[in-house]
């Protein structure tokens, strides 16, 4: 079971998406901190009244958090659940 190529494919797809995505979103969060530390003038540019770029980027962090979770759920349902279902059917066929 563990050696079957589809099971390996399942694990590979999970890792191939999860690990780079985790790295990407950690990078995006750290970008905010880096900009705050070393690009202060840029962060202070006023866009609209009192609202500066730092504030907008800060609020975008909430939006991106939600987006990543949505993308994760979508990816799982489209790419992984079908293989898992297929594997299950095969296991059930063998059991009959």
């Amino acid at each position: 079971m563990q050696a079957s190529s589809e099971f390996q494919e399942l694990r590979r797809r999970f890792r191939a998406w999860t690990f780079p995505m985790t790295a990407a979103f950690l990078g995006w969060y750290l970008l905010y901190v880096v900009l705050s530390g070393w690009a202060r003038d840029f962060m202070g540019i006023k866009v609209l009244g009192n609202i500066n770029i730092a504030l907008i980027l800060g609020l975008l962090q909430f939006v991106s958090t939600f987006w990543i979770a949505w993308a994760y759920a979508r990816h799982m349902e489209k790419k992984l659940d079908p293989i898992a279902d297929k594997l299950r059917h095969e296991v059930e066929e063998q059991a009959k």
Binding site: F25, Y29, S36
Partner: protein
């Protein structure tokens, strides 16, 4: 009026607890019942339990005091859920373990690791309960003038009574209701506050605040960059180690529902966390003098609007705050008492559970009265740091690295958790300290998390013979989708 609001919330909590007891007798099984719960209700319940006093009062206070730097707290608390979702939630659900000690025992096949994890769960729970009780004291003192310990005692007694009566069994709907109560209690006054702000000519921040308060890393805090990085690490990696969070993932029937629930949780948390940020910003304009306390949310309605409407809105905010203390404290108390009863008293008997509940509540209450009061969000942040330095390495390495040995896990838990706990105790009893040492103690995660990972990996390499014998089977169980009906082994906790 605010006193009446507190009385109503407290009485309602006790009544719902008593009613829940009757409900749970007629319901065949708590877990089966909760599996009929829709993702929205389930997510509301998770949000209701997760949004503690620190979320309700603390963020607004810290943003008022330190400015935009503190946006990282809510971002981190939301992002922590994301890390938990992507890296840990599905494998952990499949492991068959219900709690962190269960997972530790099943993965590493060692009672020593299980006991250590239990002690850490209890410590983290206590560090999290303590600021809930402290802020209850602050709120009650603000509205009645009662001494600080009265509010903490009130919340502790209500929670203990509720948990002891068994009312927590059907808590999902109660906690879901509390999320919406908390959201309403922040949102409705905010609508009035913003209307008053507009009709008052929409005053902006002062020139000084524009450059010093609104720009990140520019407040007067020393080592701001280090503190921010450390805060991010603690909140992102600590959420997965909070005792009351993980168990909630088991209320979902399968991985798909769990993912959908988490998605809703993230939207609910994001929606909620925008509100205290706006409170902090308004507080900078109207009430800069309450900086350094957690009182800004309670102060603003009376100060900006005033009159009867101001009183009503203050009462609403106060009710929301008490709902926050009660729901988070209840969830934590149940988790902590369960661990104390099962792992430290060695039995699931009712008497052991009652004794454990008293212990679970009494110790943090004592700490809350005895320790100097730090801002509530700071203390909660320290609990996150302890969780991030102990359970995060255990979970991540345990799930994704098959060479983790029991000796390595034990060493990492002791060193990482021990260092973080020492920093927390130093901060609570004697802090805040100045200079670099002060910054390192106030935000320990940036050095304790890497140390914990390092120790766990190196000690595992040094003790390859202590890699558990059943690791291959455990890994299959962790990483195979639960729709696959295969032999997942027959792990059962030895202590139950």
């Amino acid at each position: 009026m605010s006193v009446a609001a507190v009385v109503i919330v407290v009485v309602a909590a006790i009544l719902i607890g008593a009613f829940g007891l009757r409900l749970s007798r007629t319901t065949s099984d708590f877990y089966v019942a909760s599996r009929t719960v829709t993702p929205l209700w389930n997510a509301s319940a998770i949000g209701g339990e997760y949004l503690s006093a620190a979320s309700f009062l603390g963020i607004a206070g810290l943003i008022l005091t330190h400015g935009a730097d503190m946006l990282w707290l809510p971002v981190g608390w939301t992002g922590g859920y994301l890390v938990l979702l992507v890296l840990v939630s599905a494998p952990l659900r499949r492991s068959g373990a219900y709690t962190l000690p269960d997972f530790a025992e099943s993965r590493l096949e060692s009672m020593a690791v299980r006991r250590t994890a239990s002690v850490l769960v209890v410590l983290i729970g206590w560090f999290y309960l303590m600021p809930q009780f402290q802020s209850a004291g602050i709120v009650l003192r603000a509205i009645t003038g009662a001494p600080g310990w009265v509010g903490g005692l009130l919340v502790a007694v209500v929670v203990a009574v509720n948990v002891l009566s068994g009312g927590m069994r059907s808590i999902t709907f109660v906690q879901a209701f509390q999320y919406w109560l908390k959201l309403t209690a922040l949102a409705v006054p905010l609508v009035f506050l913003l209307m008053a702000w507009r009709s008052g000519g929409a005053p902006g921040l002062s020139e000084h605040d524009m450059t010093h308060w609104q720009l990140p890393l520019s407040s007067a805090k020393e080592y701001g960059l280090y503190s921010t990085y450390s805060l991010i690490l603690a909140t992102f990696l600590g959420t997965m180690g909070l005792p009351h969070v993980l168990v909630r993932f088991y209320t979902n029937p399968d991985g798909r529902a769990a993912r959908r629930t988490t998605l809703v949780v993230l939207s609910l948390l994001g929606a909620f966390y925008l509100l205290p940020a706006i409170y902090g910003w308004l507080g900078r304009i109207y009430a800069p003098d309450v900086a350094g306390t957690d009182a800004v949310v309670l102060t603003l309605p009376g100060r900006v609007i005033g009159g009867t409407l101001g009183d009503v809105l203050t009462a609403l905010v106060t009710a929301g705050a008490f709902a926050a203390f009660l729901s988070t404290s209840s969830g934590l108390t149940v988790s902590v008492a369960g661990v104390i009863a099962q792992d430290l008293f060695g039995g699931g008997a009712v008497r052991a559970f009652r004794l454990a509940t008293l212990l679970a509540v009494a110790v943090p209450l004592g700490l809350a009265v005895w320790a100097r009061s730090l801002p509530v969000a700071d203390v909660v942040g320290l609990a996150f740091a302890v969780a991030a330095s102990s359970f995060c390495p255990l979970l991540v390495l345990g799930i994704w690295w098959r060479r983790l040995s029991s000796a390595g896990a034990l060493a990492g838990l002791f060193v990482g958790g021990g260092l973080a706990c020492a920093a927390v105790m130093a901060q609570i009893t004697g802090g805040p300290y100045g200079g670099l040492v002060g910054a390192l103690l106030a935000q320990p995660a940036a050095w304790t998390v890497p140390i914990a990972f390092f120790v766990m990996v190196v000690a595992s390499f040094l003790t390859p013979h202590r890699v558990p014998a059943g690791v291959a089977r455990t890994m299959v169980r962790l990483h195979t989708p639960e729709t696959l009906n295969l032999d997942r082994g027959d792990w059962r906790s030895r202590s139950s």
